[in-house]
């Protein structure tokens, strides 16, 4: 019960403070009046006498009022409210100081809160799976392929033979055409086996997953819809489950709808999420594998992704140990040739999704922490100056009886009010920042677009605000405790000059700021150089002015390769007739967009080293592709209309191919068979050599690659490329061609869906999204850090100049030139900057090492970057000092001496 009364009286004291005060006042006045009246009647005193006597016996109204206030048990709260009010008043009197200080804090808090939001979305929010720590993505690898698909034999082998795996599921990705009410749409689709959903621990929100019967090559035609597709195309109608819809020109029954946000483990990258899912229905026979745990030599066709659920208690590390033991056994058994260096490994799904971005994010997050510290140091500096100017006020209050404790607390409260303003503004900035991140984050950065300003992120902002208040406010508060009224007030009317000790604190702060800024700017500089290097890489193509879009020609409407080729030919004819089109062609997979697989080749006159193959990455194109994409011809010719289906098979190779397999020979006219050691494999004749294209990534090794004309490759070795990307070179802005090209396709076949409409520049940009993201953010923070440091330096020089005005006046009177005075005051700022510069460079040497994996073509201690940053920082320091220093140079002797 007692606590209730305590809370209530405290509540009354705060909320009804004014009323409580009035009541107390009334009550005591009532007492005094009653007492006086009693004295007048009982003791026959005069009114005047009675009033005095009553007051005497009461014993000091104000004293007891204070005692009552104390008894409300809320004096600390009241003090705080009073301090806060006082703080607000003080801050309102100094709008300039308040605006600069709170804006500085807002920048620090806003930037760090935004970044925390990103970190939370990417690294702290669990993936949408049950117990994601127990899920691993499986990969195969061999020489030249660090991370590639599994074969069916490997899937069966790991599922049965790796004790750490409770279950393994297979999937692959592609696209399907969904036709609804006569409107076709190309959707990214996942082909998943029946175990995928149980392994991920996700259930459809409606209906069910796939049955074993459905997951067979000729099983019932079924499909699972994604939440978004279900809402968008079917209006969220639950009765769609059980209905047949048209997919790829055939009918499939919807068996379920997956929950919003469901993703396959490899859906977080640039190619975007899969939106619908159909059964994989894969068998060993179809995939050149031996049914059961036995392995085909070489493992069979590699073309699947796999995901495993670990047994409870098993770790990815254990799984990897078991996998490498098993692979070693297979290599000993001769299943995989030793030279192929076959490996298999598992990656925890969280590592898989965000592993690449984690170091980038952590570096950027650390950088934003630096910005925050600089902001705090700056505000601490401002508060110190502010404190300087208030020393007399403080001294007076100490003399009037305010305790040191109380003063400290009052100053801290002011800082809290200031950081409160800063945090409020900071949250607003963070909201803007989060909006920006959500709307501009490149798709290649996994989960970044999921950034939200949720309670945890707001809590972070609050915590940062409190921390900032402590960091920025403690130093000035402790300083104020040293106030000795006798010293300060004895000075008479003149403002005391800042003592050397206090100035030293401020100078230290500025030096720290500069040091932090130097580290940041060096980090930003390294990223800029690195990204510039990436841009400078010759990818072997000319992406400017190129429009790309994906098209597919489903077997339902284009049953054979003759029809597919005829369609391609007509499409090229129509598109090239459009105004503004310079060249047009089609290609199997776009460079820099996804990785390419390889074929085993036989190059006439070339014998590979024992037990090594002659792999060549395969690219299928139509005439016009080379011109449209801007490849460089080294010798021979590009494909043209000669290279028809019935013409002699022609091949174009890249320079790497010629260097590897045709060293010292004339490549033109050389003959290549596509396919293993089979003597009947189709034979092609090399008609041209093109310069290397960095297909798999700007910084990846270039492999031997060959190009075959689509119609010829369709018959030899027999693989109709139904999914092709149209590449159009425009004479001006490629975006302007989007509508006419779409119209041309529609005019040819209105059923065909179009997807992934992108300019080639966008494709290239996505390839360097992560380092670019880091560069942009580090660059932004670097600029912020420099600006804040400049403000700090400016402040300190201004203070020095102001406090030494008299001295300068005397010096001027004694013959110092304005130039002398300028140099003198410049020195005070530049000295701090130099100290900070030295510390910053030393710290950067240590810290930039963490960026090694993010850098390309530049070492973490790149001397060019370091010296440029040193020069830049020095320039900023001198610049920031110059403005206030010039005031010193103009010191008016007469005015100063008269004052």
């Amino acid at each position: 019960m007692a606590w209730y009364h305590a809370v209530r009286t405290a509540f009354d004291a705060i909320v009804r403070r004014a009323r409580e005060e009035r009541q107390m006042d009334d009550e005591m006045r009532f007492h005094l009046e009653m007492e006086a009246r009693r004295l007048m009647t009982e003791n026959r005193m005069s009114e005047e006498e009675a009033r005095l006597a009553a007051a005497r016996s009461f014993g000091g109204v104000e004293r007891y009022k204070d005692a009552v206030r104390d008894e409300r048990g809320t004096s600390w709260l009241e003090d705080m409210v009073q301090d806060a009010r006082f703080g607000f008043r003080t801050l309102r009197r100094k709008p300039g100081f308040t605006i600069i200080a709170s804006l500085t804090l807002a920048l620090g808090i806003g930037a760090s809160t935004t970044l925390f939001g990103v970190v939370k979305a990417v690294l702290l929010t669990p993936l949408p799976y049950a117990k994601p720590e127990g899920i691993a993505v499986l990969w195969s690898a061999w020489k030249g392929f660090d991370q590639t698909w599994l074969s069916f034999d490997e899937y069966e082998g790991w599922k049965a033979g790796i004790p750490a795996f409770a279950n393994v599921g297979l999937f692959s990705d592609g696209a399907v055409n969904l036709t609804q009410n006569g409107e076709s749409e190309r959707l990214r689709a996942g082909f998943i086996d029946r175990d995928i959903l149980p392994i991920l621990g996700v259930e459809p929100e409606l209906g069910r997953g796939f049955t074993a019967e459905e997951d067979t090559p000729n099983g019932p035609s079924v499909i699972l819809l994604g939440h978004d597709v279900w809402r968008r195309r079917f209006g969220g109608d639950p009765s769609v489950v059980g209905r047949a819809i048209e997919v790829n020109g055939r009918s499939r029954v919807v068996v379920g709808v997956m929950p919003a946000g469901f993703r396959l483990p490899l859906d977080f990258g640039a190619s975007g999420p899969t939106l619908v899912w159909v059964p994989l229905g894969a068998t060993a026979e179809q995939n050149g594998a031996i049914p059961g745990p036995a392995f085909q030599s070489g493992g069979g066709n590699h073309g699947f992704y796999a995901v495993a659920r670990l047994r409870p208690g098993a770790t990815v590390l254990q799984a990897n140990r078991q996998l490498s033991d098993r692979v070693a056994q297979l290599r000993r058994d001769g299943i995989y040739p030793e030279e192929q260096q076959f490996r298999a490994f598992a990656v925890g799904v969280e590592d898989q999704v965000t592993g690449r971005l984690r170091p980038v994010l952590l570096v950027v997050f650390a950088a934003v922490g630096f910005v925050l510290l600089i902001a705090c140091a700056n505000v601490a500096g401002l508060l110190l100056v502010h404190g300087e100017q208030r020393r007399r006020e403080m001294a007076l209050r100490v003399a009037l009886g305010a305790g040191g404790q109380r003063l400290t607390r009052q100053l801290l409260t002011e800082t809290v009010v200031l950081t409160g303003l800063g945090a409020g503004l900071g949250v607003a900035l963070a909201a803007a920042g989060v909006w920006l991140v959500r709307n501009t984050a490149p798709a290649a950065l996994p989960r970044v677009a999921e950034t939200r300003l949720d309670p945890l992120v707001l809590g972070f902002a609050l915590a940062v605000g409190v921390l900032a208040a402590l960091v920025a406010g403690l130093l000035p508060a402790f300083q104020a405790r040293g106030v000795a009224p006798s010293m300060e007030l004895r000075d008479g009317g003149r403002t005391a000059t800042s003592g050397p000790g206090r100035l030293r604190w401020r100078q230290t702060l500025v030096a720290i700021e500069v040091a932090l800024a130097v580290v940041l700017v060096i980090g930003a500089g390294l990223m800029i150089r690195s990204v510039a290097n990436l841009f400078a890489i010759d990818a072997g193509i000319r992406p400017e002015g190129v429009l790309t879009l994906r098209l597919s020609t489903p077997a339902a409407w284009y049953p054979d390769s003759v029809r597919v080729s005829a369609f391609h030919e007509e499409l090229r004819r129509r598109v090239s007739a459009l105004p503004g089109v310079q060249a047009v062609g089609l290609v199997r997979i776009l460079p820099l967009a996804s990785e390419m697989g390889d074929w085993g080749l036989q190059v006439e006159g070339y014998t590979p080293p024992p037990n090594q193959g002659t792999p060549g990455d395969w690219q299928v194109v139509t005439p016009g592709y080379f011109e449209a994409m801007g490849l460089r011809l080294v010798q021979g010719r590009f494909f043209d209309d000669r290279d028809r289906m019935d013409a002699p098979p022609a091949m174009i190779i890249n320079r790497r191919f010629a260097e590897l397999y045709l060293a010292g020979r004339a490549p033109l006219g050389a003959r290549v068979r596509i396919g293993g050691p089979d003597q009947n494999a189709p034979q092609y004749t090399i008609v041209g050599v093109v310069d290397n294209v960095r297909h798999n990534g700007l910084t990846r090794e270039v492999k031997a690659q060959f190009y075959a004309p689509q119609p010829q490759f369709a018959t030899n070795p027999g693989n109709t490329s139904r999914n092709m990307t149209l590449v159009v070179r425009a004479s001006s802005d490629p975006q302007r061609l989007v509508a006419p090209v779409r119209a041309a396709i529609r005019g040819l076949d209105p059923r065909l869906p179009i997807s992934e409409v992108r300019t080639m520049n966008e494709v290239v940009d996505q390839a360097i999204a992560a380092p670019r993201f880091a560069m942009e953010l580090l660059g932004l923070f670097g600029v912020l850090a420099l600006v804040l440091s400049a403000i700090g330096i400016f402040g300190i020089v201004a203070q020095v100049v102001a406090s030494r005005t008299q001295e300068f006046g005397i010096r001027a009177a004694l013959g110092a030139t304005p130039r002398n005075l300028l140099m003198l005051s410049l020195g005070s700022g530049v000295r701090q900057a130099m100290a900070g510069l030295i510390v910053g460079v030393a710290a950067a040497v240590v810290l930039t090492r963490t960026m090694t994996t993010m850098l390309h073509g530049v070492t973490p201690t790149d001397p060019v970057t370091f010296s440029m940053v040193v020069a830049l920082t020095a320039l900023v320091a001198v610049g920031a000092s110059l403005v206030p220093a010039r005031r010193a140079a103009r010191t008016d002797v007469a005015k100063v001496m008269a004052g």
């Binding site: 009532f30 007492h31 009653m34 009461f58 000091g60 004293r63 009552v68 008894e71």
Partner: protein, 118 residues
């Protein structure tokens, strides 16, 4: 009202003041001045403390829930703040009185044994 510096004007210990106030309130709810009059009557003017010191004590007892306050018309038709003892207050008073009896008996015993006027 005794004006002299008589020894009877002792500063009453907080606890005692509270106890006496609660005791006074057991008769009827009263306003502050009324309590101060009653205190003087009850103690035969011995406990004539500074009247103001009553108010912090009242505030403290309010906070602990020993009394509660309400507004009512007073003798001269003015609104005044009245205090009344709560159940909690009754319990507290009984406990305090028992304690007081106990200790005052002890003190008395000591004083009786002490040599008078030594």
């Amino acid at each position: 009202m005794t004006e002299s510096g008589s020894p009877s004007r002792s500063e009453v210990l907080q606890g005692t003041l509270e106890m006496l106030t609660l005791k006074a309130l057991t008769l009827q709810p009263m306003h502050g001045w009324g309590i101060s009059i009653r205190l003087r009557q009850m103690s035969g003017d011995v406990f004539d403390v500074n009247q103001g010191s009553l108010y912090p004590a009242l505030q403290r007892m309010l906070r602990r829930g020993l009394i509660r306050a309400y507004y009512a018309d007073s003798e001269n038709n003015r609104k005044a703040r009245y205090y009344e003892i709560t159940r909690e207050g009754h319990r507290y008073l009984e406990a305090q009185m028992a304690e007081w009896e106990h200790s005052s008996r002890a003190v008395n015993r000591v004083l009786r044994f002490a040599p008078q006027g030594a």
